[in-house]
């Protein structure tokens, strides 16, 4: 009788333990994105922060994803009120400078923020190597299934979302992904 009870208790407990183990290993704030592998949503946004040197664009210029076909695109959503964006900022600019002259375009997209606050933030952070665009009413952000900042999307030369990075982007991870996308686009 005791063995029977123990077996029943075990049968009830095992699925509960498995469920807890699965649940505790998940990040409840992480929303699985259906976008990687799919065509990147088109965008057409105006530059408010020009960037530096050969990577710069004029303020007011429109950055269109359609014009960047054939290039690897790094689209980074950020905001001046976002603390985690400070952690990745210098690294992102560094990586952008390293790929100058290669078919890679970095674009920052301001999320739920004003261009003036964004410009001040860039000045405080010591500049930004690549241009940033303004996304009024967060339409592009929603098109990319954004739920927080920073989030970075790596778009392959054929216009597909290859990877999505949630949280601060690590420079070494970025380099690895960009290199693999460049070699994939160079392959016949």
């Amino acid at each position: 009788m005791n063995w029977r009870r123990a077996a029943i208790a075990g049968l009830v407990a095992i699925p509960v333990i498995v469920l807890f183990r699965y649940g505790l290993n998940q990040d409840p704030r992480e929303i699985p994105s259906p976008l990687p592998g799919n065509p990147a949503p088109a965008f057409s946004l105006a530059v408010f922060a020009p960037g530096e040197g050969s990577l710069s664009r004029q303020i007011g210029d429109t950055v269109r994803l359609a014009d960047l076909r054939g290039r690897v695109v790094v689209l980074n959503f950020w905001a001046s009120w976002c603390l985690a964006c400070r952690d990745e900022h210098v690294g992102l600019s560094e990586v952008a400078r390293e790929y100058t002259g290669k078919p890679v375009t970095f674009v920052g997209s301001l999320y739920q923020d004003t261009p003036s606050a964004g410009t001040n933030w860039i000045l405080q952070m010591g500049g930004e190597a690549y241009p940033s665009v303004h996304d009024p009413r967060a339409r592009t952000a929603i098109d990319y299934g954004l739920y927080g900042v920073p989030e970075t999307f790596l778009i392959s030369a054929d216009g597909r979302i290859a990877r999505k990075i949630t949280g601060p982007a690590e420079p070494n991870v970025m380099r690895q992904i960009i290199d693999s996308l460049l070699s994939a686009s160079a392959a016949p």
Binding site: I31, P34, Q112, R137, A138, I142, L146, Y147
Partner: protein, 150 residues
């Protein structure tokens, strides 16, 4: 003591009667100015609310974009309104958000495939629990057989 209780109840009733009745069902959505918009707009707002209340706010805990005051929820609600105004059906608007955020964005998962578990498991648990209780009560209420020693 009884007198005090009567006075308290009467006062509460009088205060309640003096307050204007609030009909929450006809309340305009947040940010909607009924004085500035016509009946067509209010119909669009009602449809927007209906769709927005089925979509989960990505930056909240268990709130719909209709109920959340967050900036992202407001932007999403305005996008729902614009898509409905441009002629998309509520199902097409929901499909758009699912294509961006996955099925996670729906507060109520579709009753198909793996999602069926979410509907079936509570039913199985309730039925199983009920059956277990009935069996246990029967066992407890059945009078024990007289032992052979008696």
């Amino acid at each position: 003591m009884t007198l005090l209780l009567r006075v308290a109840v009467t006062t509460a009733l009088l205060i309640g009667a003096s307050l204007p009745a609030q009909d929450t069902s006809s309340r305009a959505p947040i940010g909607f100015d009924t004085a500035r918009h016509g009946p067509a707009d209010s119909a669009l707002e009602a449809r927007t609310s209906a769709v927005a209340s089925q979509l989960r706010c990505p930056v909240c805990q268990g709130l719909s974009i209709q109920d959340s005051p967050s900036d992202l929820a407001q932007s999403m609600r305005s996008l729902v309104r614009d898509q409905l105004a441009s002629g998309r059906t509520p199902d097409q608007v929901k499909a758009y958000f699912v294509s961006k955020y996955g099925e996670w964005i729906l507060l109520e998962p579709k009753p198909s495939g793996f999602n069926l578990l979410a509907y079936a498991v509570p039913l199985v648990v309730v039925l199983g629990g009920g059956a277990a209780i009935v069996l246990a009560v029967r066992r407890w209420t059945t009078s024990p057989e007289p032992s052979s020693a008696d």
